[in-house]
């Protein structure tokens, strides 16, 4: 039996775990193609026009898998941490896909909810495994395999390698450059090279080392985010805020690039918090890049070049004082 995993949303975060888990249960795992023009076009046609591009792409990737697999794995991710939620669209996406008249193989949509349980993912995966085998021991073994895969994947990421190097065979971020930029954005925006316009590649070419959330210890990020008087209740919001604060406070980067999908709900507020709390008060260089299905690579290059030029000048001639003073 073949199970398809669309290359969307949390793919670049959990794929190694899902793959190891399903393979240990004796399934063949098929990821969908890397996002291409065709997938984007069909996604835009089939989805709700107001949704953000990452959600739209789910439609295209699912259709890409349609004839290749027997099942499609599209979890309903409710929350990944105590008292936090994912964006409502993450919670509703299996329902949206199922009701979209797409003519696709059955969707497997276990609810992944880590909000109140000490057992973490285990409960969800136990239920998930039950669909394929009655043998609980086998499921537990598969789950352990999955956790092991996730752990080694995360360890590799912490060494400064991007998910694209590991999963898509690219070679980014290995070298050490003079200018360092922290990208603050969701994994499904940065690592989907079609929608991010190959941002990491462009920055590498400009002589910039890219740091991202995946390279920092998760708990350290959350600790940073907990300074907020009212804690953010989106898992991703916390991570973005924490990452930005970590980068700035530890002096790891020369500037920050915020990547925001057009129409992203949580980010519209989180971005505001980062700007008002962290970057503006100390004049820290920051640029926000909004992406959608109409973004062009040329526009992106121009903006990134200008930003990097500014950082270089700042570093060479102005020390830590901006020209405002």
């Amino acid at each position: 039996m073949r199970i398809g995993i669309p290359r969307v949303l949390l793919f670049y975060r959990y794929y190694p775990m899902w793959k190891a888990f399903f393979e240990a249960l004796g399934l063949e795992v098929v990821p969908s193609s890397i996002t291409n023009k065709e997938i984007v076009d069909i996604s835009v046609e089939k989805s709700v026009s107001e949704a953000c591009i990452p959600i739209k792409l789910v439609y295209g990737h699912i259709l890409d898998l349609k004839d290749k697999v027997d099942f499609i794995f599209l979890p309903r991710i409710v929350g990944l941490e105590y008292r936090t939620y994912m964006c409502p669209k993450f919670i509703g996406i299996p329902d949206m896909i199922r009701n979209a008249s797409l003519d696709i193989p059955p969707i497997i949509d276990p609810t992944i909810d880590k909000r109140n349980s000490l057992t973490g993912f285990f409960k969800s995966f136990l239920e998930l495994g039950r669909l394929f085998t009655k043998n609980s021991l086998k499921i537990i073994q598969a789950y352990t395999e999955g956790l092991k895969a996730l752990k080694s994947y995360n360890e590799e990421l912490r060494r400064g390698i991007t998910p694209l190097d590991i999963l898509d065979g690219k070679n980014y971020g290995g070298e050490d450059f003079n200018i360092k930029i922290g990208i603050v954005g969701h994994c499904y925006e940065i690592y989907d090279e079609f929608i991010s316009g190959g941002m990491i590649k462009i920055l590498n070419r400009l002589g910039v080392k890219v740091l991202s959330m995946e390279m920092i210890d998760w708990r350290a990020i959350l600790r940073e985010a907990n300074v907020l008087p009212k804690k953010l209740f989106w898992t991703f919001g916390r991570e973005l805020y924490g990452t930005a604060r970590y980068f700035i406070r530890k002096g790891l980067v020369d500037g920050i690039i915020m990547v925001v999908a057009f129409g992203c709900g949580p980010d519209s507020l989180v971005r505001e918090l980062i700007e008002r709390d962290l970057t503006k008060p100390i004049n820290f260089p920051e640029i926000t890049i909004t992406i959608d299905e109409h973004s062009s690579e040329l526009g992106l290059i121009t903006r990134l070049e200008a930003f990097v030029d500014m950082l270089i000048r700042r570093k060479q001639y102005e020390d830590n004082l901006s020209s405002v003073w």
């Binding site: 509703g92 949206m96 009701n99 519209s268 507020l269």
Partner: protein
């Protein structure tokens, strides 16, 4: 302490009533206008949803009138509403307005909630608090009835604006009413006047539209371009899926009852889990209207509203399964009245043709 609050629709009358009863000096936010909107848009984050922008504009206009304290709700949920107060607080602070915020929010712990409530109660005795709450609640119920009846009466009004005038007068009287019996008195007078306008026999011939969607846009007349009035003038009987009472029951745990959950149950085949905000309820209410034999449904949402986008994706299927036309209007500061009117008129023409054909057999 000069207190103000985010108004939505007619609820302002009830909110003001109980704040006044507690002995606060209330600065009611001036009615929302295009100025309110442009102030909000100017200072709010670009992609924030419309209610955040409008309420921000409301605050600034109230501050201009001298308010120094803001009453607001907060919470935890996937919807952005729970974080409004935090973002708005920062924006106002950066603008130089140092406001005192009273945020009713359980997520900051019981102590904080208790402290906020204490500030609102303002040292009044328990009896007085209960009395004020009961009066405010009675006003909420009355406001909802006034709104419901006006929807029914508008298609029959003898001259344009007749119903609006009566409603405005009644709201004024309701605002002055100091006891429950006075509220009931106002309501029964209103009922009598309206009964003389409504032609019960031809009610069935009217095109009936259900309005579903995000609560602020559905209930705030300014935000939704007074859609109910416009529909009424076009000879349509438009009913909301919910009124102020339901929203209070949904968002304030104190008033919660089982009906709310019962009503969402019909949506489960389509959307298995609540996605925050009104997402799941929107689907449920659309099904409910279809089953009640309504001719069509108008779905209102603020642009980029996350739960409503999920609902929109599902409504397409519901519309097919239950054979009920659905028009989604997503509203932001760019939305123009002409665009909305054109779409509504076209939608109603379609419904009228459909209804005529069905009645002819």
């Amino acid at each position: 302490m000069k207190i103000t609050y985010p108004p939505f629709g007619d609820a302002r009358i009830a909110i003001e009533s109980f704040l006044r009863d507690f002995g606060h000096e209330v600065i009611p936010p001036p009615p929302s206008t295009n100025r309110t909107l442009s102030i909000g848009v100017k200072y709010a984050p670009e992609f924030a949803c419309l209610p955040l922008k409008i309420t921000l504009g409301n605050y600034i206009e109230s501050i201009e009138k001298g308010a120094d304290t803001i009453l607001m709700l907060g919470g935890i949920g996937p919807c952005r509403f729970g974080y409004y107060a935090e973002v708005q607080r920062r924006i106002l602070k950066d603008l130089g307005y140092d406001m005192d915020w009273i945020v009713l929010d359980l997520s900051n712990g019981w102590m904080n909630l208790f402290r906020s409530i204490k500030k609102i109660v303002n040292g009044n005795s328990v009896i007085k608090v209960i009395k004020a709450l009961r009066l405010a609640w009675e006003k909420v119920l009355a406001l909802d009835k006034i709104e419901k009846i006006s929807r029914k009466a508008r298609p029959f009004e003898r001259y344009k604006g007749e119903v609006d005038n009566i409603v405005r007068e009644t709201h004024k009287k309701l605002d002055q009413a100091g006891s429950i019996s006075q509220v009931r008195q106002v309501l029964s007078e209103y009922r009598e006047t309206m009964d003389s306008i409504i032609d019960e026999d031809s009610l069935e011939e009217l095109v009936k539209i259900g309005i579903v969607g995000e609560f602020y846009v559905v209930l705030d007349h300014f935000t939704n371009f007074e859609i109910a009035r416009r529909l009424g003038e076009l000879g349509v009987w438009a009913e909301n899926a919910f009124y102020i009472e339901d929203i209070v029951r949904i968002y304030l745990p104190l008033f919660r009852n089982k009906d709310i959950e019962e009503r969402t149950r019909v949506a489960l085949p389509y959307i298995k889990r609540s996605v925050g905000g009104e997402g799941q309820r929107t689907v449920a209410h659309t099904i409910e209207f279809a089953e009640r034999g309504f001719d069509g449904v108008i779905h209102l949402s603020p642009f980029t509203c996350m739960p409503e986008i999920v609902a929109e994706g599902i409504l397409e299927r519901v519309s097919k399964d239950y054979d009920i036309p659905v028009l989604t209007l997503s509203i932001d500061e760019q939305t123009g009245l002409a665009g909305i009117t054109t779409r509504i008129e076209a939608f109603i023409d379609m419904l009228k043709t459909k209804k005529r054909r069905r009645m002819a057999g």
